[in-house]
Symmetry: C2
């Protein structure tokens, strides 16, 4: 057999390890599982701890060396290369979910990487010679649902975020990430692995383009830019009865005006910008008390840098206008920006080749949402592979990806890993 | 001595029992007390349980018979009359508070009633003859902060609310009032006392009129009408990234439009209507999830019935318009209305007389906020006495009423109780 076709094809299925990842996805859907089939597995919750335990156990039984770093990122290093200090090929995603989220988002990429590592180890045992090691990773707090910012673990690994800042991030109950990780036993002390030669992530599309076009594999070549703001309006608690309207300093009224204005920004550039306020926390939140404080999270995502800059300017003006009208004080407590970037063609070309080799049609696609792969882009060539989401439904319990599509994604991912780990992790050489 | 001047005047102070209620207010501010001097003592919380225990102990030591009814209302019956089955004069208010609320709101009326009962018992021991009994009461969940509607305990006593509906009311964590009362040992089994001959409540103004005019005693002659709506917008959870704007069904966007429109309603009738949204709960409340659900509480309070009706119509239209624009479904889960009513002059005349007798200037005043006295108006003549709030600050930790003003209010209240309990609870006879 050739070096790139070692995996025995099961009789009749025509696919290597068909259904294996889909079965593991079922098992992991139990951790934080909801009756609807979705999951609530917030970062560093008890359910996240259970999923992490299961991931670590599977890594160990697959022969990986398991590490947990200081922000809770979990790595499973598969020693494939015959020499020490060989380059590392890394794949992974995240096990945390949104509240009432889906069971594929993130988990697919983590279990896909685990299964890829298992297959590569099997190949090694069967005599395939590798010159790179492989690492399957679970990044902490990708979602940004419980702790902010999102992409926290991968952003720490890639140096954009300091570990101490990440650990000091607080949830809405005031608990720090450090406290939450410690509570589930994942405040690690291991050194992270070295920066990999390249990083590839398998993820569900979370949009409806692949499904609409009947294309099973999306190869991400560009990400939309994003600007995120955490805004806090500070008003003054008062009785909603006798307090005169002109004396009120209503933080929620300021927030409401802002939410309406942020929505209006999207209409200026149809289909080229998405805007949202998904989170709003009101204090003291009693029917007959003028709200003293309103914390909200604004997101702007655009396909074009100029649009994004203009939108951010408009949002900032809207916040100031709302604060003035409601006679409240405003703080923008954090701003994060994700620039529009192109993913390196050297990796997308390799993924295209592997899709062709495994007989799957593919297309180039943008990602509107953030992924850990975008954090890794700061330190190494990065690839991102999408498989179809039924109805484009995402961050919803009804999120679904067909088992056949999972298998197709896995076939491509395994092929990519195999070629990379036999080419010292160099995508150009791997495509030869 | 005459029958209406039995209370010994302490030498030098010129006031009966000066500072007594202010001292008890300090003691009660410990239950759920905050560093700022305010309190968070939500209905049927542990802190509320502690305050209730202290109230019951003080009632007992003052010689009252203590009862707790099925919705947790606490009564302390002082047997003053020489005959059984004598009419009852009732006074009281509530011990529950808003989150980060003040330590006078409600507590003043409860401790004022307790101290009044103590003084009347003392008078009885000193030979004063009464022909009515006296009851000091703590009504459950006046605030409506944890359980809705507000005025729940007094509304149950007066027959507007069924006890089973009151007990089934749920807080934002899904706990019922019955469960919460049971947890603190106040799911009572005692029969409530009979409907009183009349009810009088001492309360802080929560506005700034008395302070501005330098008048120590406000006699409430009318309440503003109120219309309250609990509204729930049902959208659909989706990813704030790839989900196209036109596909979104954003419950928070609908809520935000509603909040802005409700605020605008107030500008149509300046100083004749107060409007607010004090409470908004968003689900799942994650920065990158289109909100699936937003629950909000709207309040409209007006001095005129026609204005209130028009405002309610406008608010209903605003809700429907917002739901249509955000493409979400809307339920108005509850509507409660408090009509504009006049408090009976027979009682306000008696209070005026007693203010004059104790040497305190008074004025007639509206109440914009709801009070338990308004519930009792359904079953008996009711009086409501205000003392000044510093700066009109209410539902705020910085709420303050000067100790001298507490003493002035107590002097009037004691005089009113004394006259009523010597006149079979008949205000007309008591004013003779």
């Amino acid at each position: 057999m050739t070096s790139t076709s070692f995996i025995p094809e099961p009789a009749g299925s025509g696919k290597a390890g068909a259904g294996q990842v889909a079965r593991m996805l079922e098992q992991f859907a139990v951790f934080g599982g909801l009756e609807t089939g979705g999951v609530t597995r917030l970062c560093a919750s008890a359910a996240d701890g259970e999923a992490r335990d299961a991931f670590a156990a599977l890594l160990e039984s697959a022969g990986a060396e398991v590490r947990t770093d200081s922000v809770g990122n979990q790595y499973g290093i598969f020693r494939l290369a015959t020499t020490k200090g060989a380059p590392l090929v890394m794949m992974g995603s995240h096990l945390d979910s949104q509240p009432q989220g889906g069971r594929f988002d993130g988990v697919l990429g983590v279990l896909g990487a685990l299964e890829t590592g298992r297959r590569l180890m099997q190949a090694k045992r069967e005599g395939v010679v590798f010159n790179a090691d492989f690492c399957a990773v679970n990044w902490t707090n990708e979602e940004g649902a419980r702790f902010r910012p999102s992409l926290l673990g991968s952003g720490t690994f890639s140096g954009r975020i300091k570990a101490e800042d990440a650990l000091a991030s607080r949830d809405d109950d005031g608990l720090t990430l450090a406290q939450a990780l410690d509570a589930i036993g994942y405040l690690g002390t291991d050194a992270p692995p070295p920066v990999p030669a390249c990083y590839v992530e398998l993820h569900v599309e979370q949009g409806a383009i692949l499904e609409a076009e009947g294309v099973p594999i999306g190869i991400v070549t560009r990400n939309w830019g994003a600007a995120k703001m955490d805004v806090c309006f500070h008003g003054e608690q008062a009785h909603t009865g006798p307090t005169k309207m002109r004396s009120r300093r209503d933080a929620l009224f300021a927030a409401a005006q802002t939410i309406c204005d942020v929505r209006d920004i999207a209409d200026r550039w149809p289909d080229r910008i998405h805007t949202s306020v998904g989170r709003l926390v009101v204090q003291p939140n009693s029917p007959n008390v003028v709200p003293a404080r309103a914390d909200l999270s604004i997101e702007l995502r655009a396909v074009d840098d100029d649009i994004l800059r203009s939108a951010e300017e408009l949002a900032t003006q809207a916040i100031q206008k709302a604060a003035a009208k409601a006679n409240v004080r405003v703080d923008v407590s954090s701003r994060t920006a994700r620039p529009i970037r192109t993913l390196p063609s050297v990796l997308s070309d390799l993924i295209k080749l592997c899709a062709a080799e495994t007989g799957h049609v593919c297309r180039e696609i943008d990602t509107v949402s953030g992924h850990d792969a975008l954090s890794l882009l700061d330190v190494c060539p990065t690839g991102l592979v999408f498989v179809p989401s039924v109805g484009g439904i995402a961050h919803n319990e009804r999120e679904e990806t067909h088992s056949d599509d999972v298998d197709r994604g896995m076939a491509v991912l395994t092929r990519v890993a195999l070629r990379l780990c036999q080419s010292r992790g160099d995508p150009k050489q791997a495509a030869l």
